[in-house]
Structures are given as structure tokens and as C-alpha cells.
Symmetry: C2
Subunit: 489 residues, 2 copies
């Protein structure tokens, strides 16, 4: 095992970096800012994709695919969107290389008439396409999702959390009315929250972003915010009500039932490989990953324990029998029968990889008709009968899924701090971290000042907020409700 | 229905273009050479992906993800590969835009020190990564696949068949011995052939490419070649034995069991959204797509036929009942209950979209306990009992899958022409098309000459070729076996 024992409590950031590498999730590539997602990490991403894809289809969406490259002139049509992303765009300027003195060089004769931008997000190219698809109210709604890679040039990168290229899904929908678009925006926020809580095991706060933190080009940005074990927040997904901004920028109008011409209403929503970072940071410990069963590529690992070849054979027969039973219940089981490693080494390796349950089986277990069962999340071990082990394991996995969520929820709930003065704000932020629930005067200026002074940003205005009169924690000006501040990834 | 009635026999190429657009598979985007894959087309691509992905996993492969962008210096390391792709590379030169006088322009201060190439294929970036993963024979084999987009700049594009950006999968494996790598190369060719024949319903010839047609950087390129209805061949997939070329270019060596240091052996293999083009061209007719059931997003469409509201209700109840039964057998069923269109219009629309079976149900059917069943492939109609319709349909779909393949195989077999003189070669190529089985002297020069004179290329040297002495059809020089020529997409 290469997992270097830097503890969470000592250096959370290094602990995270090491864990991502040592558990074989991802690594930095030789291309600045771009990562390689390794097979084990990608297997988790596939589980995330499959589940979300199912949920998108259940809510009526279809997948499609739009070009990677966006002509600069399209990109600049929605002004705010363009300004918001301009600083981090990869620009294609040539379409050919040539061989010159045995070296490969850019062919200056193959300069593009118009530069192409690698999509940082696809509103521009998609709304330019929708223009050709929408004439009448009969063509609406359009409910499309795309699984794709995007590039946002980043100077300071971190595996999964901030990379120049990342994988994501982006939903882009078109509607006849503002009301319908808002319903869609909120529905997809609910889908994300459902996924975060019931599959990733991470409780989230649903809320609305302030104007400063809003998606460039949106009328309103909804988000889900999770809390990591170091007390920092992580934005896990966003759903944007885009109003008619893109329809106006690309002149997409439709004939209403009444025969009028109106601009179309839009939403967009996305989650990305950032979720992999959240998954690692929310649950893992000093021994490695802790994966919720609903997203674990392997549910159960079986490790045989033996000395002689004869023992090995007996134990392996029993192990294969158990494997077969578990697989019949649609569980993913790994029988680790490598004879080049000792059981203790294997235990540590599968703990590092976060496999929810481990079954150890030795000669005495074979005699007694038992196995040793070890939970990854609590490290609890118990001896269980082989008979009925399949249903026992299935139920236990459900318990583990719930337990992982419950622990994260208790942690999160214990780390929402109401503060009522600036001194308290600063000291709680420094000493405890977490979410700070405080009054704010509603101005972008105050928000910016707080960010400069403390690095804390307004994560969201929670949707389920109680109305409560108060005074802004910084300026003392009147405020109608508390908002959630935090330092964030 | 927008499907313009240009017949296959009149203008195959226009027929194809119209069909792809009118059946809502794909369209050209505003970005030169790039396509938009529309939801219905993408749903077929998803079926292709799911099945191939399953087959890759069954043969021991895992998915992973490598960067989109490749530094120019990596790209030039494997000389032949670089030269082969240099002319069609999209080059990223800048990483920022800026706002200037209200317009978005490229920020010349953000010029990259080293240009980045958008991957035309990923051998370079992947072998640069494998270098860090492989030290010993214990690290081998590496069996990885990637689903990704790639860009190869094309001036003359055609939807699915030739586009600047396309979607594909690329397998990249690393092995300790040449033998093992060759076994892998051939195994993946067999996987592709299995998929083409049993899922796409397209019979293929398995073969080896000549040196002229070999993948740039490969030692040997294996391929599967299909025949389209216009008598042109289409390369449907390739599997390359790369020898030690990339291991040497990126200095990837491993310690053998015996303690020696040796270069690693490699394979790569891929299929792309080109397969969508093959699927359309192999089976469709003047009324639209003909989809093999194994890849059809919708297996059965149910169209209700009624005059009054009362009739509508009765017919719909029966239709929903049938839908439920079919879905219980894992079939995908669409109940087309739109009341804005007449049955005849719906029939034509679903024929255009290639749905394998249509069930029509009217008031008399409800009374008699029957339905009208129409096959898309043969246009045969029959009256069937509602009782037991589920199993009947399931079996019929299997028959259709087989019938589609059989028809394509008869067509293909009838269009392999043995020719023995140059005059015959030219006249058969012009009059009949198809594959021409002819002797060739084995020289690249002769191959090139034939291509210039006739546009026919050597599609492959079939793997199951009988040895047969003969004389080259062009030069009269001795030849040890026939090869397959054809005009190709």
C-alpha cells in the first residue's frame, strides 16, 4: 500500500491529495491542469452517471450531443456569459500541423478565419441549435441533457475539485412559459438533492445564490451545498433559471397558441466530476476511502485465510459459494484470491479502496459454517453464519448506506452555527468552521468585503429559511433573513 | 413528415443525407465539420455503447479517462503516428480571451508556451501515462478502454461518416509479450465482428490491412469491413497490434520475471459514431430507417385507431394493457396517443424512424380481441390475437433481427465478385460495385496505381483466405492469394 499516513487532523488537504492518488482514483497528467481518471475512480464515476442518467430519464429528459468547439462570435452573443468565462477559455486558432526539418510545427497557413473556443459550458452552441428546432409552442418543451467534457483554464488545480478539463452533464431545456421553466429548475435541484443524500450519503442545503455568486447569464441560480469533514462547504450542483437571456441573444422565438411571437424560456443544470471530490472528502478516514454502498463498484470483498494448499482449496470452495449467493442478489463481489499477498495486506488495501464490507474466511470458519464480517465504515467485526449470509449482507449494506448518511448529517447539523456579531463571526469561522448562519444586509458590496476579510462567501440563501428580522453582521443594516456563509472549495 | 422522397436507387448519397436529418438522427452544426447528434440518434448510439461496454467488460477491460489535450512534444514522439495525423489537428494556442471595446478577443498575453493538440487519437497521452504505471511484469497486462470525443480536421464532411469531431471508444492495452498482445488484438476484432453481425445485423469480412492502409504507428492493423446497399464498403472497426513502437517512443519498460528490462507490447482498437452511418446505410429503405431490434430505442409502437371519444377510450384501455404486457418482457414500447395526428401520419412517422414493429388497434379489434401487427423490415401485416401477443411479439422481434442480418448477408455474398483480368476488374467495379476478389502483386505501388485509376482500395486481406496462386490483376506479377478491393466510404 502506498497510502502515506498523513492524518486528516494533521493536514486535511494533503490527506485528500494522497488518498485520491493512493486509492487509484486519479492522478495529475503531464498536461497542465488536466487529470487522468484511473479505472477505480472511473468505475465510481460510472455508478454516479448511471444513477443520474436514470433519474434524468425518469423526469422526461433525453440525451443528445453538441459540438466541443464554439465559434467565438457565438460565444460573445450572451454578454454576461461570455464575460464570465472569457478568462478561462482554451482557444483553437489552427487546424493543421506540418513536418519541418523532422519536427512537428504549427502550419501558419492553416490559421482559422474565426477562432474556436473549447466549450466551458454549452449554452451558446445549444441555443444557436435550438433556434432551428423551435418555431411553435408545439415544439416545446425541449428537455435535453448532455454528458460531456468541458475546459475551463485554471491556474491552481486540484484533483476532481478544480481541473482545467472535467467531465460533467449539462441539462438544457426550453419552455413556453417562465413558470414552467422555474418548475423545471427546481425539479432538477430536487433530483440533485435526492441523489446527493440517498446515493452519495451527503446531506445538502438547497438554496439560491446571491447575485455575486450567480451563474454568468442566469436570472437565478439554485444550488445544493454540502459540508466536508474539515468544515469547508462544497457546491455540489447548480440549476439555473436563465429567463429569456439566451433566447434573446440567439433570437429564439416561438408562436404561442394564441398566435403571438415570444422568446423562449430556458434552464440549465449540471453536476461534474467534482462530486468525486465531495464523495472522498465527506466520508473517508485515515485508513482510506469510505464508499456508500449505493456507489461502490465493489460491495463485498472476500479474503481467504489459509496456510496449506489443502486449506486453501477448502476455504476457496466456501468463498466461491458465498460469492455466487451474493451475486444472485445483484451485489458486486470481489474474491481476492491472489496468493502473492498476505491477508493483512489485502485487508488494508480494500480498506483504502473503501469497499463497504469484507468477508474473511479461514479453515475454522469452514468447519463452523461461519465467516468474519467487517464493516468499513465503523470497523466493527462480527462472526456470522454462512447460512443466510446473502440476505444478511444485503440488509447490512442498506444499514451502512443509512449510517453513512446519518453520521454526515449529525456532523453537518452540529456545524451550522448561528452568529449575531462580527466578532463571533470571525471567531466561529476560525475556530469551528462549518456553515455560519448570519444576517446580511443584501448588498454585494458587503458580501465582497466579508469575502476579502475572511475568505468566507455566502454559500446560499436556504430555500427553507425562516423569515427573521435582524441586523447585518458586518454593517448593522437591517436584514430580513439569515444566509449561510462558509469557506468553500 | 419531412422525409423527402428521394429514392435510394436515384441518388443514394442524397437519400442518406435526407434520411439522417429527417429521421432526427443528426444535423450539421454551425461549427464547420461538427455535427449535432439529436436525441433519437443519440438513443441508438447509447444502445451501441451499452452493448459494446458490456462486451469490453466481459473480456476483462475497465474504463478510464485521459486528457483531451496533448502537448505537441508528446504528440511528435511516435514519428509515424504524428505524421499520420498532423494534417488534421486542431491546435490550442491561447488560454484566455478578453473584452476589448465591448468585443471578445483573444488575449495575446495568454499565449501558451507549448501548443496543445486536441486528441485525434490518444496513444501519445496514454503511453506517456502508462510509463508511470508500469515497472514490473506484475503491473501487466493493462486492459483499459476510454469513451471519448476526438477531433480530426476534415474539409469534406458527411454526417456520422466523416466529421471533424466524432465520438468513439478507444481501447489501449499493454502486455508483457508480443504473443499476448496479438491475442488481444484478435480478440477485440472478434468482439467487433460479433457486435456488427449480432447487434447491428451487418455481416463483416475480418481481415488485415495492407501497409498503405495501416494505422499510423501500428505493426499490423486488423479490420472488419461491411458492405453498404450501394455496393460501397465501409470500415466498421479496427484493432491494431502496435508492437513496441509506443513503448519505445515513450520509453516504457518493465522488469520481466527473469529480471530483464524489456519494452512493453501494445494494442489499440476502436469504433466510432461512424457505426451509426453503417447502420443507416446497410438496412434502410425508401420509407426510412430499418432498425435491428437489438439496437432499436423503441421496439414496438402502438397506434390507436378511433373516431369518437368513446371509441378512443375503449381502444386506449386495450392498448395500455398490451403495452404493460410487452414491457413486462423488457421490451421498449411507445403508445402514440397524440390526438393531433391521424393514424396514417403516425404510421409513416414510425416507419421513418425504423421502429421494428407497429401494433394498430381499432374498435373492431377490441371487439374481436385482435390487433394488426406490421413489420417494418418486410412491411408484412397480419392480424393477431391479443391473448399471448407478448410472447408472439418477443419471438417475432428475434425473427426480425435474424431476417435483417440474413438479407444483408445474401446481399453481401452476392456482391463478392471474383475477377481475373484488368478489364473485368474495371467493368465489374463500374457495373456492379461490391467487393472485388482479385490477385494483387503485394506492392504498395500497384495498390496506389489501382486506387488512382479506379478509386478502389484494398479493403483487406481476409483472415479466412484460401491460399491460391495467381497473377496480379494489374501487373501480371505472381500473387499468393486474392485480396478484397472496393470503393469505400
Amino acid at each position: 500500500m502506498a497510502f502515506e499516513k498523513i492524518k486528516r487532523s494533521e493536514n486535511y488537504s494533503e490527506w485528500y491529495n494522497n488518498l485520491v492518488k493512493d486509492a487509484d482514483l486519479a492522478e495529475h497528467s503531464a498536461v497542465k491542469g488536466c487529470m487522468v481518471i484511473k479505472p477505480y475512480g472511473y468505475a465510481i464515476w460510472e455508478k454516479i452517471q448511471q444513477q443520474l442518467d436514470k433519474m434524468f430519464k425518469q423526469t422526461g429528459h433525453s440525451n443528445a450531443y453538441f459540438p466541443l468547439l464554439i465559434p467565438k462570435s457565438f460565444f460573445e452573443k450572451e454578454e454576461k456569459n461570455a464575460e464570465g468565462f472569457a478568462k478561462e477559455c482554451a482557444v483553437v486558432t489552427h487546424h493543421r500541423l506540418k513536418v519541418e526539418n523532422g519536427r512537428i510545427v504549427v502550419d501558419e497557413k492553416a490559421k482559422l478565419e474565426e477562432e474556436l473556443i473549447i466549450r466551458p459550458t454549452s449554452e451558446a452552441i445549444i441555443w444557436n441549435t435550438y433556434k432551428g428546432w423551435i418555431q411553435s409552442y408545439r415544439d416545446l418543451p425541449i428537455l435535453i441533457n448532455q454528458w460531456a467534457n468541458v475546459v475551463r483554464w485554471e491556474m491552481r488545480t486540484r484533483l476532481f475539485l478544480r481541473t482545467a478539463e472535467f467531465l460533467w452533464q449539462e441539462g438544457h431545456t426550453a419552455h413556453a412559459t417562465s413558470e414552467e421553466a422555474i418548475v423545471e429548475t427546481k425539479q432538477m435541484l430536487d433530483v440533485y438533492a435526492d441523489f446527493a443524500e440517498n446515493f452519495m450519503g451527503i446531506p445538502v442545503v438547497k438554496g439560491v445564490k446571491t447575485e455575486n455568486e450567480r451563474f454568468a447569464g442566469a436570472v437565478e441560480t439554485y444550488c445544493i451545498e454540502g459540508l466536508m469533514q474539515d468544515g469547508k462547504a462544497l457546491q455540489m450542483g447548480t440549476s439555473h433559471f436563465l429567463g429569456q437571456n439566451f433566447a434573446k441573444a440567439f433570437d429564439v422565438r416561438f408562436q404561442t397558441k394564441e398566435g403571438k411571437l415570444e422568446h423562449v424560456w430556458a434552464t440549465s443544470w449540471g453536476v461534474s466530476t467534482r462530486l468525486m471530490g465531495a464523495l472522498v472528502m465527506a466520508h473517508s478516514d485515515d485508513d482510506g476511502l469510505v464508499l456508500p454502498p449505493n456507489l461502490a463498484p465493489v460491495h463485498v470483498v472476500i479474503v481467504p485465510i489459509y496456510r496449506s494448499d489443502e486449506e486453501r482449496e477448502k476455504v476457496s470452495d466456501a468463498a466461491r459459494d458465498i460469492k455466487k449467493k451474493l451475486e444472485a442478489l445483484n451485489l458486486s463481489v470481489k474474491f481476492d484470491d491472489r496468493d502473492t499477498f498476505k491477508p493483512g495486506f489485502k485487508f488494508a488495501e480494500w480498506e483504502l479502496k473503501g469497499v463497504p464490507l469484507r468477508i474473511g474466511i479461514g479453515p475454522r470458519d469452514v468447519e463452523n459454517g461461519t465467516v468474519e464480517l467487517a464493516r468499513r465504515d465503523t470497523k466493527e467485526k462480527s462472526v456470522q453464519k454462512q447460512e443466510g449470509i446473502d440476505m444478511y449482507v444485503k440488509n447490512l449494506l442498506e444499514d451502512i448506506q443509512k449510517a453513512i448518511f446519518d453520521r454526515a448529517r449529525v456532523f453537518r447539523d452540529n456545524n451550522i452555527h448561528e452568529v449575531n456579531s462580527w466578532d463571533e463571526f470571525v471567531s466561529v469561522l476560525e475556530d469551528k468552521g462549518g456553515f455560519i448562519s448570519a444576517h446580511w444586509d443584501g448588498s454585494g458590496e458587503t458580501e465582497e468585503k466579508i469575502k476579502e476579510m475572511t475568505k468566507a462567501t455566502i454559500r446560499c440563501i436556504p430555500l427553507e429559511n425562516k423569515r427573521e428580522e435582524g441586523k447585518c453582521v458586518l454593517t448593522g443594516k437591517p436584514s430580513a433573513q439569515r444566509v449561510l456563509f462558509a469557506k468553500a472549495y
